[in-house]
């Protein structure tokens, strides 16, 4: 028997183990690209700034930082978007949810009772079929069925002798 907390923890552990290295690699790669792109411009700007360290520097700093931030976001938004889309696609492709169990149905007084102690949602690895996590879904459901009365108004039998 596993409750929702254990189910979420197991799913989290598996996603973490699978995706954490890729996220880390993506972050490092993005950081390197930002550094590669920004460093020469920062260096050039600092050189220029030292030369022109006069009162007119402030608007230039503002303009430069605005442009730099815009450039970096423009450049990195594409790879980050692709990374997120690919990650979601991989997650959906990796896991297969399965609902399984046995529902016991019996007739009770003025109703039908549905019960199940072994119905569960299983999350499996699609490739191997290995169970990653399981969430029990106990069922206890009663459907009320009222009595039905049929009125027989006039049933006429006409017997013919053979």
């Amino acid at each position: 028997m596993s409750d929702i907390n254990e189910f979420v923890k197991k799913m989290g552990d598996d996603i973490n183990a699978t995706l954490a290295p890729r996220v880390e690699q993506q972050v490092v790669q993005t950081g390197n690209q930002i550094a590669d792109h920004a460093a020469p411009q920062v260096q050039a700007f600092v050189d220029q700034l030292v030369k022109e360290i006069a009162a007119s520097a402030t608007p230039k700093v503002r303009d430069f930082s605005n442009k730099l931030v815009k450039d970096i976001f423009t450049q990195q938004s594409g790879p980050l978007r692709d990374f997120v889309i690919k990650t979601i696609q991989d997650l959906i492709g990796r896991y297969e949810p399965v609902l399984a169990g046995n529902v016991h149905t019996k007739v009770v007084n003025q109703g039908i009772q549905l019960t199940s102690d072994d119905t569960r949602v299983e999350i499996k690895e699609r490739a191997t079929g290995k169970a990653v996590a399981s969430l029990d879904l106990p069922v206890d459901l009663r459907i009320d069925v009222r009595e039905m009365t049929f009125e027989l108004d006039d049933a006429r039998l006409n017997v013919k002798a053979l």
Binding site: A100, F150, D154, R156
Partner: protein, 77 residues
């Protein structure tokens, strides 16, 4: 055919049997129950459907239904 045979044949053919009443179907523990109170009347067709005989037929029946196990698997294998 004998006289009695002719008599029975004529009696059968000139009379209608009319059934009226209520039939109730419900669920009880482990069973479907059926009960009915039927009023049956034999009418003389050649005499303006005059009632010849009346019968009351109370009925009570019970069909036992065992527990059913429905295997669930979504998606199917």
């Amino acid at each position: 055919m004998s006289i009695i045979g002719n008599l029975i044949t004529e009696l059968i053919e000139r009379n209608d049997v009319v059934i009226k009443g209520a039939i109730t179907v419900g669920l009880a523990d482990g069973a479907v129950k059926l009960s009915a109170d039927l009023r049956t009347e034999v009418q003389d067709r050649n005499n303006h459907n005059k009632p010849v005989a009346r019968m009351l037929i109370p009925m009570s029946a019970r069909a036992v239904v065992d527990e059913m196990v429905i295997p669930v698997r979504i998606p199917r294998r």
